[in-house]
Symmetry: none
Subunit: 199 residues, 2 copies
């Protein structure tokens, strides 16, 4: 399995995400638009390179016929690990340069991972040391587990409830009290949880 260049991996990931989200492959023009190419030839070049490296395949002159090869289909994504997130008493998120691989079907636009610190979500089965996969959104639904920036000060992982008086951020642990605030910025919602057992 030949290694891909950085750009080729970006193109491949874009295609994979697009297929995942839409159920069909992107057109060359859509790929060009996404990457800011002014020429379709650039897309064609990359597609050809990826075909040479057996990362994908398509049919001649058939619209939206790109398919990932099985070897690459089964691969996971590397998403940025943005830092640790407090699930107990709120602490500042820590930036890191690590990445973590997640299942392809958890991947979408604006997805990243956070490592959980604390035990405030343990009744939802999110434990200290787990990784949560986050999708950046601003408008969560009631009951979503969200990453919230409170008072422009600290970041925390809680269940989200919109109420008359403001926002209630509810821990899933009876030992903690909810946070009631009007000043919370939602940074994303939890799409998945990943736990690793190391022996």
């Amino acid at each position: 399995m030949q290694p891909l260049t950085k750009r080729q991996k970006e193109i491949l990931d874009f295609i994979a995400i697009y297929v995942n989200e839409n159920g069909y492959a992107p057109s060359y023009r859509e790929i060009a638009e996404h990457f800011g190419f002014s020429s379709l030839a650039s897309v064609a070049d990359h597609i050809q390179a990826l075909k040479d490296k057996e990362a994908l395949d398509n049919e001649f002159n058939v619209a939206r016929s790109i398919q990932l090869t099985p070897q690459f289909e089964e691969q996971t994504f590397d998403v940025p690990l943005m830092g640790a997130i407090a699930a107990g008493s709120p602490i500042q998120a820590i930036r890191t340069r690590e990445t973590i691989s997640i299942p392809r079907d958890m991947m979408g636009k604006n997805t990243f991972a956070l490592k959980v610190r604390g035990d405030s979500m343990e009744d939802e089965g999110i434990l200290d040391g787990d990784y949560v996969v986050i999708e950046k959104i601003e408008k969560p639904k009631n009951g979503d587990i969200v990453v919230a920036l409170v008072d422009n000060d600290y970041v925390t992982l809680k269940k989200y409830f919109r109420e008359k008086t403001g926002i209630r951020l509810q821990p899933a642990n009876s030992r903690y009290r909810p946070i009631l605030t009007k000043n919370a910025t939602i940074q994303g919602k939890v799409k998945g949880v990943i736990r690793r057992f190391s022996y």
Copy 2:
């Protein structure tokens, strides 16, 4: 499984939803109306294209006879899912044809995934509906979470402890009692947990 175009996927989705809601397939006219086609030929073209791609099938000259093919009926993920596993009162593991994708670093030789049923491991943050990634091993260490076949009868997910009198399979939920047995075959140990949030 040939990829569909955008339009073809829209048509297929419409048919699938229609069948789901009504119990029978839409007529060509209903499809045309829904998409604003002025010609039935357009519908016929799409039906033919979808038949060519084996996304659906119908009987010649039979009204509302469109049927989705099994492959498109249920969309699959990346990696095989071997069955469901009881984490509550032990029940037989159920074989399925589903698949699931898992992070690369959880993957190894003899690795598969199981869907968790029951709540006996909830104190370990393994909840009903979660997927556990299992590595086939026969000799676990004390404290490992294992998949065990007990008395050649049922399969269950428990914490493993070797004791003088035999094997203790310990649930992580105070409402359940441990299983004490000499007759347990370990099928593997848990390498990871994956949870999906669907909204």
